[in-house]
């Protein structure tokens, strides 16, 4: 064990820090779930891409830097430290990207990853359907083969970023005779295709962060099929899936939030009467640190050629509950000032950010597989309890 960064890693950190210092926008961008905000975030993605910082783990030929996971963690640490904008294309870079790397053909990688890295194409995800939420194998949205094309009919729901995104990736039933997790295919669909209707769904903050997507005889080329026809389920559940789990929420996000929480606590300490707050602040800081250490340990193992295991299914529960605790504690520290987003208070912007974050944290235990589903997975795959 050697928990000291190499000099190469240190220079990489300083390179990231310097670049961010001179490129991160001075003012906070508006939410990416608004017209202006989405375009501002798209412009930021392009800026990142011009510096080859779009996705540092990707190979150089696709606009990345061929970084390993430790360097990715360093990049993320500096990114959150600098207060850089949230990644509007996270569905693409953190979810679809690793899948394309593992299952995409060279032509598909060249076509999709390059455009993603350049910030030209933003991605929405299309897993859930009205009848297929936690029970994702109940997917009914059809992709019927017709020569070199698929004809897509049906509906997706809770599609994050679909209101403004350019493309959606998802699972579709390509074998009409199939049931459950058989006969599903992983297909990429342009959202400007004829027959696609996107209906925004306002989230708790009132903004359309997700949408329903209706497909009415939408024709897509079979070039957009990832992996084999009918292999969709295993692609979605693959090793790439575990890696997605690792990358979806980098620890730096929660370490930065915990740092802000400690700063808020220091500022408000003398006004606090609730005896549990001190304990909550300590717990939040410890947990953010534990999540970082756990990710470093996994990254280290993977870098040395190890495989990610079922223990990674614990991640999502841990960070989503941590995120709620951090924001609940901040709300308690703000007291009644949180209700009006601190209008008239000295730290108005900071308070508004806590309230936004608090609302968003409510979704953590629900999206990307509810925490109840995660607990089933842990019980069955990590602990080995019987399915039935």
């Amino acid at each position: 064990m050697d928990l000291i960064y190499t000099s190469q890693q240190n220079s990489f950190r300083m390179e990231v820090r310097d670049w961010l210092r001179s490129h991160v926008p001075q003012n906070k961008l508006p939410s990416f779930d608004t017209d202006d905000g989405f375009e501002a975030h798209r412009a930021w993605e392009r800026t990142l891409s011009e510096g080859n910082w779009g996705m540092v783990t990707w190979p150089k030929e696709y606009g990345g830097r061929g970084c390993d996971l430790i360097e990715w963690l360093i990049f993320e640490e500096e990114y959150y430290r600098a207060g850089a904008p949230l990644r509007v294309n996270q569905n693409g870079i953190f979810l679809l990207g690793p899948t394309l790397m593992e299952y995409g053909t060279d032509a598909q990688k060249a076509r999709f990853i390059t455009e993603m890295a350049k910030g030209n194409e933003m991605w929405a995800q299309g897993w859930s359907e009205p009848g297929a939420g936690s029970d994702m194998a109940a997917i009914r949205c059809r992709a019927d083969r017709d020569g070199n094309e698929f004809v897509i009919n049906g509906q997706k729901i809770w599609s994050t970023r679909a209101v403004y995104a350019d493309w959606v990736f998802g699972l579709f039933r390509s074998d009409p005779e199939s049931s459950r997790h058989h006969g599903l295919s992983f297909i990429l669909v342009p959202l400007n295709s004829p027959g696609v209707t996107v209906r925004p769904i306002p989230q708790l903050n009132g903004l359309p962060g997700f949408a329903e997507i209706f497909f009415d005889d939408v024709r897509v080329s079979d070039f957009n099929l990832i992996g084999e026809e009918g292999q969709g389920w295993s692609i979605a559940m693959s090793t790439a899936g575990f890696e997605r789990g690792l990358m979806l929420r980098s620890p730096a996000r929660f370490q930065q939030a915990s740092r802000r929480l400690v700063e808020l606590y220091r500022a408000r300490q003398n006004d606090i009467l609730d005896l549990s707050i001190e304990n909550a602040v300590v717990q939040c800081y410890m947990d953010a640190e534990a999540y970082a250490l756990s990710t470093y340990q996994t990254a280290s193992r993977l870098t040395k050629g190890g495989k990610i295991g079922a223990e990674s299914s614990c991640n999502k529960i841990f960070w989503s509950e941590l995120d709620i605790r951090i924001h609940e504690t901040a709300m308690s520290l703000l007291g009644p000032y949180a209700e009006t987003e601190g209008v008239g208070m000295k730290y108005h912007e900071e308070i508004a950010a806590w309230v936004d974050g608090f609302l968003f944290s409510q979704s953590g235990p629900i999206y990307a597989g509810t925490n109840e589903i995660q607990r089933n997975i842990i019980a069955e795959r990590l602990l080995g309890l019987p399915r039935k």
């Binding site: 064990m1 740092r259 220091r266 410890m286 470093y296 280290s300 223990e311 841990f318 309890l385």
Partner: protein, 364 residues
């Protein structure tokens, strides 16, 4: 940056784990309960032959010269088997303190004692003020006792023991009655104080590693029971309510591991700057073990509340170790104080302190 254990470190752990699995069964632990000493000399001797008692003693003094990091998985394994012999108190706490004392104030007495401790022939226990009582004192040959900043080496003949029953039948707790003298004092002042601080950190971290092992063992026993025990015509472990009790334990265990492993590294490379890492480890291991004790008892149902069910061998150890070497209040307070320091290095870029900025001595 390499946050993995070496093959040698893992091999040492698996050797010990194999030994413990075959030689320290629940049935044998219950036999210890019936004995006055609660201490099996044959097991002790075998552990010494495996090199456990020699691990932290320097090679020049008859030991293996390993680091605390090299041994952290061994401590976890001892917890997993609920080993009653105080091998951890002896090998990883007392021996390490004696080694530190000897490095500063070498004497023939400390050198001879180190050789005896490394061989497992002399049983050495520590009495730090944070713990009111000492485990297995009646089996000890000598004690390292805190008196203010002083470190006293006291022979068993100079100590009156007042023995009392423990909540955990595997333990034999005593308070020590003794008189400090100039002759018994090995080290005092700032140096003494610094070594007691190190000892507290080693004790807390060794306890954390055991708690983690205890939690793992309890969960695996509950998983087995929930897979075998049938109600309503199917194993109770098929019910989500039962699954989720155990999944919650697994999450806490998974996130306690890297914290304990990092603390072991910090204690090894920067023992005077390990407070924060150690306190974090102790708190999360305690929470994981207490949750495991409670949820696993629940999974065993009425059986879990019986003397007959083996689970309480592990649960009771967890309940007592939770309070040893500083309870959660003590450790959370250390973290709280640190968080309030204006100079505390907080945030994502300081996961491993500020070493990357070129300050080789800085590990926070």
């Amino acid at each position: 940056m390499d946050f993995t254990f070496s093959e040698e470190q893992q091999f040492f752990e698996s050797t010990l784990a194999d030994f413990l699995k075959d030689n320290v069964t629940a049935e044998q632990i219950r036999q210890r309960w019936e004995s006055a000493e609660g201490f099996d000399k044959t097991t002790w001797q075998s552990l010494a032959e495996l090199g456990i008692t020699a691990a932290l003693v320097q090679e020049a003094n008859g030991g293996l010269g390993l680091s605390f990091e090299d041994c952290i998985l061994l401590m976890q394994a001892c917890g997993r088997s609920a080993l009653p012999e105080p091998i951890i108190e002896h090998s990883f706490i007392a021996a390490a303190l004696l080694e530190d004392v000897h490095a500063i104030a070498p004497s023939q007495t400390t050198k001879d004692l180190l050789a005896g401790v490394a061989a497992g022939e002399k049983v050495l226990m520590t009495s730090h003020v944070i713990n009111p009582h000492t485990n297995m004192a009646q089996s000890a040959d000598a004690f390292l006792i805190q008196f203010g900043d002083d470190i006293h080496l006291v022979d068993k003949s100079e100590v009156q023991l007042k023995t009392m029953k423990s909540l955990d039948p595997s333990r034999r707790m005593s308070s020590l009655d003794w008189q400090p003298s100039a002759k018994s004092c090995l080290l005092n002042g700032v140096k003494g104080s610094e070594l007691w601080q190190r000892t507290l950190n080693r004790g807390a971290l060794a306890t954390a590693a055991q708690l983690l092992g205890l939690a793992e063992a309890m969960v695996s026993q509950a998983v087995k029971y929930a897979s075998d025990r049938e109600q309503f015509g199917k194993p109770i472990g098929t019910n989500q309510a039962v699954k989720h009790l155990l999944a919650d334990c697994a999450v806490q265990i998974e996130f306690a591991k890297p914290v304990i492993h990092r603390a072991a590294y910090t204690v090894s490379v920067a023992p005077n700057r390990a407070d924060w890492a150690v306190s974090h480890a102790k708190v999360c291991a305690s929470e994981a073990a207490k949750l495991a004790a409670r949820h696993c008892t629940q999974v065993f149902g009425a059986m879990g509340y019986t003397w007959e069910c083996d689970l309480h061998i592990w649960a009771k150890r967890a309940w007592v170790l939770d309070k040893e070497w500083g309870d959660n209040g003590f450790h959370k307070n250390r973290i709280h104080e640190w968080l309030l320091q204006p100079k505390a290095l907080l945030g994502p870029e300081f996961t491993f302190g500020r070493r990357y900025l070129g300050d080789a001595n800085e590990v926070v």
